[in-house]
Symmetry: C2
Subunit: 115 residues, 2 copies
Amino acid sequence: MPISADILRGHTDTIILTQLMEKDSYGYEINKNVQKRTQGQYEFKEATLYTAFKRLEKSGWITAYWGEDGPGARRRYYAITEAGRDEWKRRSEEWQKTRELLDALLVMEENHESN
Amino acid sequence: MPISADILRGHTDTIILTQLMEKDSYGYEINKNVQKRTQGQYEFKEATLYTAFKRLEKSGWITAYWGEDGPGARRRYYAITEAGRDEWKRRSEEWQKTRELLDALLVMEENHESN
DNA sequence: CGATATACTTCATCTGTCAATGTATTTCTT
DNA sequence: AAGAAATACATTGACAGATGAAGTATATCG
């Protein structure tokens, strides 16, 4: 049973930013890396991926350029901006907090003694 | 800075189910518990909460009944069904998996030596 | 008596996801 | 050389969950 993407909603942009923190990349490669990192458990739908790029560009967190015309289909590369790095940091910390919140909210409370 | 609710999107139903696993409850109380459990860091918007009840009822995971006419405003209580308990278990496990996925996807890879 | 807390409801709007569809090039297979 | 599969990107319309806003009603506190 695959992970429902609705649960990951809102993390798409952060996942992309994480990879661009390491190096410039393009859609197809980023998606392959997502598959690799999750051992094939998750991948973006193409439409989701490319809408995310638009969103990130409009926000000023990434910039785009066409790759050199080597062999293979033309690639649109993306680079993270300074503002993008700040945003990644913010979101990264937010994820830590979200984890804590959900861990607190999704666990059954055993102890009903003291209240 | 509060947690952006877009990040918790999709977890609303599971958070509610978790509390109904313990005992029957009603909207206002559930929301107060969310605040308590998260030390005031999070709470549902009313509209979010009550649309979630509708959704859960329609799915057959909870049932509703009006509380006894005691003092105070009338309360609509909710109880989790057997199907709801199964669903909670499924979602609970999904959260464990989601955590792992996101931990893998939101961390910068330090080591660029071997590839 | 007015403010505040408790408690629930509905509706219009916004945003992110995604199925469907299309374009184009390269590589692999036969 | 023909056809399939992989690489690579883009757009559009539909859908679902979250939410601001507005409303209803009762109880409590100063």
